[in-house]
Symmetry: C2
Subunit: 199 residues, 2 copies
């Protein structure tokens, strides 16, 4: 998968129920597409600013530990803030995978990867990895690097296998309430925006 070397923030969203093939309708993302709506909102929360996209962000959607769809902000051209059009980008990526292509639309890549490969790539590129977890250290108190990757789960908890892969990384908490993954992302961005001045 192509790299985005200017990336300073990565979000890894671990999906447990979403399809790995494009056989779903955009009219029913929460139902027959297995809560693909959650992942779509995570993508837009990671990239969308009021005017424009965050270029220094990458998102990895891990689907059932079998397929990874990756969004690279530096190359992303088409991303609207709504769920349906973002769901369509994911669908196009899964179509590309079926046809043996690694790239679908600009800035969107796809591979037969699992969580392990994503973590390994991010580590090899020098990212500090963190797991968002309500039992972790308060993000406001944490000593964060300038190049971070945050791992979140979708509407399900991490599986025991995922927990094993993630146990070596520090856990960060955002606050006293347990939130949906897509609502965590703006809070993480906000903390980093306050610490590291915009490009």
């Amino acid at each position: 998968m192509g790299m985005g070397e200017e990336t300073r923030r990565a979000f890894v969203i671990v999906g447990h129920t979403q399809p790995t093939t494009p056989d779903f309708t955009l009219n029913d993302l929460p139902g027959s597409a297995g809560r693909l709506d959650v992942l779509a909102r995570c993508v837009t929360a990671a990239f969308c600013l009021s005017h424009g996209l965050r270029k220094d962000v990458e998102v990895f959607l891990v689907l059932r530990d079998e397929v990874v769809v990756r969004f690279v902000g530096a190359r992303l051209k088409r991303l609207n803030p709504d769920e349906r059009s973002t769901g369509a980008l994911i669908k196009h990526a899964l179509q590309a995978l079926q046809e043996g292509r690694a790239q679908s639309t600009p800035g969107v890549a796809v591979a037969r990867w699992g969580l392990g490969e994503v973590l390994q790539e991010l580590r090899s590129r020098g990212f500090s990895l963190y797991v968002l977890d309500e039992g972790g250290e308060d993000i406001r108190e944490a000593d964060l690097a300038a190049r971070n990757a945050f791992v979140l789960s979708d509407h399900r908890n991490f599986t025991p296998e995922e927990e094993t892969l993630l146990q070596e990384y520090p856990k960060l908490s955002l606050g006293p309430r347990v939130l949906h993954a897509d609502h965590c992302i703006p809070i993480v961005h906000n903390e980093l925006d306050r610490r590291f001045s915009p490009e």
Copy 2:
């Protein structure tokens, strides 16, 4: 419009391009429904916790300064986190309005109100009102009351008429980047969650 006296946080989202009648398709919320997707995401950002809904929240969607759709957490029964089903709740409310009913689904009310009436009601109920604005005081430094209402605009700026109605209220900033309204709401909740312990 019925009150939710246990409400401690209110969000007023001022919409400029969304329909005031139910003649739109849920398949095209960003387009023919005039960016109704933004308002739908604001509703779910205001209410949805990982497990359950925030009961102490109210949301007022102001549509073209003509119609207000109101969601009361204490009475809300059906709210899924996706845009389409939330868009359907708004559509049902606009249908109710056409048929002369003030209530559509549980916890959702509708009236021929404008921004002025919403501000007046919130003031009369003892809310401290704030306008989210990138030029305001940092929310982390602000002396917030326990019962607050936050006014946000959709993808458009406030009109001069709205600015006039809002000029008496203090402005709060969330950080150095200008964000979509639906991404502001989790950040506001997070700050309040940290200050005021959960019910």
